[in-house]
């Protein structure tokens, strides 16, 4: 299975701290995406990184991809209470059609 595995499963931090979530996978991918899900806004796309890219930034988000280690990380800097949500990595299947989601990291940011 190509399912992404997020680590940690849950994370609780204080507002203002940084949060790092990791995703590992087993086979080749053509892209990796990060999504956020909370009860208010559903699943929202955060950032996409292609297999030939190593790092991408978007606002307070920084994503890295290491294809040799088959892993990715999502860093949220200066976290806010509004960042409380579940974060999922999603693998773009090499077959081109599927996107395979992991089980997610549940982030809780305390005000």
């Amino acid at each position: 299975s190509q399912q992404g595995e997020e680590d940690p499963q849950a994370l609780s931090i204080q507002e203002g701290e940084n949060a790092t979530m990791n995703c590992s996978y087993k086979t080749s991918i053509n892209n990796l995406q990060w999504y956020r899900q909370n009860s208010g806004r559903g699943l929202v796309h955060l950032i996409l990184i292609r297999s030939n890219e190593r790092e991408k930034h978007s606002g307070r988000l920084r994503v890295t991809l290491d294809t040799s280690k088959k892993s990715s990380s999502l860093l949220i800097t200066a976290s806010r209470a509004a960042d409380t949500a579940s974060y999922f990595c999603a693998l773009g299947d090499t077959g081109g059609f599927k996107t395979i989601f992991g089980a997610g990291t549940r982030l809780f940011v305390k005000a």
């Binding site: 053509n30 699943l43 929202v44 077959g95 599927k98």
Partner: protein
């Protein structure tokens, strides 16, 4: 419309009933995906359409599940003879390009409860 819409938002069915879930993707989006999400889990891929063509249905759990997108826009996921294990949130997503290369825009989901 501004985003992906799904209807109904909530559906309660008695075991054995048939249900139909509707997805209106963003206008002009080529790709449409259906996912099933159990409580506390990530979305599980069900099927993929590129325009009206169903190019991947490998995630459909049984032959009781059927999806269509006859005109390449609105899609319907039908579940026949519902079972309790079908209880989940069903998510629809669309993206502009083909394949799984682009960001997906998700609808709010339909929460199906089978009694």
């Amino acid at each position: 419309g501004a985003g992906v819409s799904q209807s109904p938002r909530y559906k309660v069915a008695k075991r054995g009933q048939d249900v139909a879930l509707r997805c209106d993707p963003i206008s002009g989006h080529v790709s449409l995906f259906w996912y099933q999400q159990a409580l506390g889990q990530g979305p599980e891929f069900l099927t993929y359409f590129q325009n009206e063509a169903q190019l991947d249905k490998s995630g459909l759990p049984s032959d009781r599940f059927f999806a269509e997108r006859p005109e390449g826009s609105v899609s319907t996921l039908k579940i026949q003879r519902t079972q309790q294990e079908d209880s989940a949130v069903y998510l629809c997503a669309s993206s502009f390009g083909g394949y799984a290369y682009n960001e997906q825009f998700f609808g709010p989901g339909t929460r199906l409860t089978v009694l």
